[in-house]
Symmetry: C2
DNA sequence: TTATTTCTGAAACATATGTTTCAAAATAGA
DNA sequence: TCTATTTTGAAACATATGTTTCAGAAATAA
C-alpha cells in the first residue's frame, strides 16, 4: 500500500528518555528531544503523538524495564535473603555515578499535577513493593530476618529510604555515605 | 533624592516561592511569578534580578525559615529525646496535605545542574544533620537511645527516610502509611 | 516648591516553544 | 511498473518565554 515508518520506535523512545531524565519534563524542549531521537517533529506527531504522550511513553518504558529486572531477580537460584541483599546493593550502585532515578525525579517534578504519570509511577512503586514484600516474607521463613518484623512495613520502608539516598547523593556526592546507610539497613533487618 | 521601592521584598519573595513550589523552576513562568508577586517585571529586574536570581532567593528564604524553626526547637525546655520525637512527628504532619518539601523537589529538579542552588540545599541538609546529630547524641546520654547506635548515621538516615516519605505521599496519598513508617523509625531508635 | 533621581506600568523585543502544514520522497501492493 | 498511500524534511505557525526599554509618575532632599 504505502511507505512504512523508517525509525525504530523503541530506540527513539530510549533516546528521548535520556533527554527527559537529564533535563526533566519541563526542561526538555521538543528540539532537544527530536535531535536526540534523530527524527523530525512531523514524524513524532505522526506516530507517537505530542510531547506529553512521548513523556508518558518514556516513563512507561522506564518502569517496564525495571519490572523486567525485578522478575529476573526473582528467578535466581539463590536464597530470598541473598536476592534481597543483592538487590539493595545493586540499588546503591545504581545511584552512584548516574543521574538519579527517573521515576523519583518525575514523581517530584510532575506527579502531583499529572494523573497519568502518577498512576504509572504508583504502579511501579506497587510492583517494587510486592517484590520486596515477597522476598522479605520468604527471608523470614528462611530464618534470616526476625519473625517479629513486619514485611509490609519493611518493604515500604526500603522504598522510601532508597528515594532519600538518591537525594543525599545529589547533594553530597559521597558514595561512602550511601553505602553506610545501606549497610545499616541490611544490619537492621538481619536476624 | 528620589522615589523608593514600593513593594515589600520579603512578601514578594514569599509569593514567588509559592509559585516555584507548586510549578517547579522550569514550570513557573515569569508571568506566573510577577502576577503572584503583584509587581511588574521591570520592578523585579530593577531590584531582585532575573528569574534565576529570584529562584535562588526563594530557595534561600525557604531554607532560612527552616533553620529558624530548628533553632527554636533546640531552645525548648523538653528533653532532647522528646524534641526529637516531636520533630519527627511534625515532619510527618508537614508532608500531609501540603505540596511536598520545596527543598526536595528542587534537589531533584535542578540541583544536579545548578551549583548555586545545590550549595544552598547542601547547607540546609548539613544544618538539619547537625540538628539531628546533637539531639540524638544527647538522647543517648539521657538513656533514651541505645549507646551502641551511631548518631551520625541515624541523622543521615532520618534525612533520607523523610525524603522518601515525601515521595510515598505524592504517589499514594496515604497518611497512615507515612505514620506507620515514622512510628517504626521512632521504635527502632528507642532504647 | 523645585530639581533630581528613581520607580513603575505598558509595551516592545528577540528568541524559544510546541505544533501544524505541505510538497516531495518513498514504498507496499496491484 | 504503476498507483495509491504514507512518511519525511523543511518551513511556517501562533503563542509563550525571559528580558529590556522608556515615558511618565512619584518622592526625596534642597
Amino acid at each position: 500500500m504505502a511507505r512504512s515508518v523508517e525509525f525504530n520506535e523503541e530506540e527513539a523512545i530510549q533516546k528521548a528518555m535520556v533527554v527527559f531524565w537529564e533535563k526533566g519534563y519541563n526542561g526538555a524542549s521538543l528540539r532537544d528531544l527530536t535531535d536526540a531521537m534523530k527524527i523530525n517533529s512531523s514524524s513524532l506527531y505522526n506516530t507517537i503523538g505530542d510531547k506529553h504522550e512521548l513523556f508518558v511513553r518514556c516513563v512507561k518504558y522506564y518502569t517496564d524495564t525495571r519490572k523486567k529486572d525485578l522478575d529476573r531477580r526473582l528467578k535466581s537460584a539463590r536464597s530470598s535473603f541473598e536476592i534481597l541483599v543483592k538487590y539493595i546493593n545493586d540499588s546503591v550502585e545504581s545511584i552512584i555515578g548516574k543521574e538519579s532515578c527517573l521515576a523519583i525525579k518525575t514523581a517530584f517534578e510532575v506527579a502531583s499535577s499529572d494523573k497519568r504519570v502518577k498512576d504509572i509511577l504508583k504502579a511501579d512503586s506497587d510492583y517494587a513493593y510486592r517484590f520486596l514484600h515477597s522476598l522479605i516474607s520468604r527471608a523470614m521463613e528462611e530464618g534470616k530476618i526476625a519473625k517479629d518484623e513486619d514485611p509490609e512495613l519493611l518493604a515500604d520502608y526500603f522504598i522510601s529510604t532508597w528515594t532519600g539516598w538518591n537525594e543525599a547523593y545529589i547533594l553530597h556526592k559521597d558514595p561512602a555515605k550511601i553505602k553506610r546507610m545501606s549497610q545499616y539497613f541490611i544490619k537492621q533487618i538481619s536476624k
